[in-house]
Assembly symmetry: none
Homo-oligomer: 211 residues x 4
DNA sequence: TATGAATGAGCCTTCATTCAT
DNA sequence: GATGAATGAAGGCTCATTCAT
């Protein structure tokens, strides 16, 4: 089930983190195919022999890294409060997305590359998918707000969840990916810098669709 | 200025198209780094020598292909009508995006991979950017609708344009990319199949933000 | 017998010279193996097709070029006067060598590369060798000077000829080859610049061996 | 500073020598450009992968080889005695040159190719130059002989050193290079075979210039 | 005769993976 | 368990040469 070998569990957490940090940065910057596992080992200061005693293959190293990132992301989601006014929940969500992307930009860019056809075969080997979590999360949040009367009764909840996620996703990507940052700037110019404020304004406009 | 050599202009259009078709499919499916120009040549039934007499490098072949796709996309955009009720314009836009993505799925997936950090350096060599076009297009469309009184006077036009584009982009990607199709299905289940109908519903929910 | 095809005789002398000039410069600068006949054609402004209608192969082009250079060199030698005081003949010879090397530096460097083992197989295809000429020339010159009583009676004529040619050869190479120029400068510093004066001084010191 | 990687230091001396032997022979025989590092690896019985774990590039392999040869040559020079009658020192020098060239003919031919314009860029990357050593060596030898009254007081020492080196160089090359051997035979016929005797006669004729 | 597109062997180099120490 | 030398398939690219137009 895990993508690493037992040996990897036995080394110090520092060393594990170090290897992951280097790996994420390489994979995120160069893409899966153009990244060399030998270079990751060299940069991480361990031998390739060790690398292969921790992971069965380049593919597994990659998946282990991505998986670790998903865990982190999950934890962020799970830390969000599930109550209070809908708008505040939405804002918190957007801010969490921004925070995560700014805190782990390489990891965030790795997700971006996972969306690519090139990595579809690899993505299929992952059991955890961010989507499952968020769909449930959104839909519950929306349902409760409708029940509370904060949002209109005839709201198309699945579609609303999708719409929200679209914007969360692209806001989040704009915090790490060169392309999405550039794209946002084209639309919003200077306003793209203050992500906090932008999240707030996005809340406003999204709320209008739902209320 | 063009990414191909003169020689490429001199071969038959059929052959040119054939090479492009193969190349788009390979690049889109495997990503830039994992794609071999030698294999593209083999699959296209021409010698590598010829390939290199058409393009100076793998990089140029890639850019030539992407550039051609941008042209196509531009033409689609320019074919849209610039008048009539806003909702109808928006719907036409969404449908055009869907149509393009379904007609040229490989090309569409190539754009997806261009968003990756890995390809940022290559993206910079491209002069045409889809973004420039769409920003202007959206903003004009919105401004006119506000003037006509179809949309509310205090609309934050740049943000609205960004919001719309977010949804157009992800709808479009859901038509070709395995990941985005999968993501949409998670949110919308069976409704993800009928993109026409979905576009209509997206129109509705987006309109609420703007009106 | 000639290294070019008949077709080459039929084009204008200007064109022939142009092709040769480009070829000499490329071969001399990059060496035989690293020089591309296609690039010579391109730089000379003719098609490769034409190139191959003038010469059967890269090898033949090379040999044709070298052969032409030998002819030039022969003519220089044959223009030297065969009488007068020995010292003056020797000086004239040294000056002629310098003149030729400065006038045709690329050609001169081509000879240098012909001395290489790499080109021994090609050198063997050449009928004209500079050596044959010079051996006879030197020996006659020396014999006559001995007979005239200008040089000592017990002079080892073949060895003297060899000694002279050694110095002529290296002086000549110092006029075109980066390496030999550099080598001379190491020995003679600033004096390496004025080749005329140097030739005169070399005459002096060589004459002492012979008189 | 060295042209090889650390890995190369760690393999057995036999293997190192074997690789060098093959490499020298290939480079000397075919020239730098026409030599394939893959073929060197094959002939040496190692994989290309290994070759590239020893040297960063073909260029570095070449320079490593040449550098090793320079070291050898230096050692030969440094082994010569710095005292005794000048003529004997000169003879010893000529004999050393002959010995070296006959012992390491490929290496000697490599020097020959280093004199070529083609390899000037590579030569520049070498720190050790045979010239520096020999200039000093010659000049000291000559100066001392002048002081001892063995050579004439008005001797042009730099020019004398250059003259000597010219003859040493070409004698040395005649021991390994097909061309220079051929050239010498043209001048000296059968006498070219007994290099020992020839060195002695060269000493005689050179001494006349200096005494 | 002149052209230049086409060919494909072969070059330099990289990299995932194995395995002896 | 850790190391890193060894392997060789495969990739991007060049170039001498041929041949249809």
């Amino acid at each position: 089930m895990p993508f690493h070998k037992d040996t990897f569990d036995r080394i110090s957490e520092d060393k594990r983190d170090h290897i992951f940090t280097i790996a994420v940065s390489e994979f995120a910057g160069k893409g899966y195919a153009a990244t060399s596992i030998n270079q990751i080992a060299r940069k991480a200061g361990i031998s390739i022999g060790s690398m292969y005693s921790y992971f069965d293959s380049k593919e597994d190293l990659f998946l282990a890294v991505v998986d670790k990132g998903y865990e982190l992301l999950e934890r962020v989601f799970q830390g969000l409060r599930q109550e209070g006014p809908f708008r505040e929940q939405l804002l918190e969500l957007l801010n969490a997305a921004v925070w995560y992307a700014q805190r782990h930009p390489d990891m965030n860019n790795l997700y971006l590359s996972m969306m690519t056809e090139e990595l579809a075969p690899l993505a299929m080997r992952l059991s955890t998918q961010a989507e499952k979590l968020s769909v449930d999360y959104y839909q519950r949040m929306l349902r409760q707000a409708v029940e509370r009367g904060e949002l209109r009764q005839d709201l198309d909840i699945p579609l609303a969840a999708y719409l929200i996620d679209n914007n969360v996703l692209l806001l989040q990507l704009a915090c790490s990916s060169g392309y999405h940052q550039y794209r946002m700037q084209h639309f919003l110019a200077g306003r793209a810098e203050d992500k906090q404020k932008l999240a707030d304004q996005l809340c406003d406009i999204i709320m209008r669709s739902l209320a």
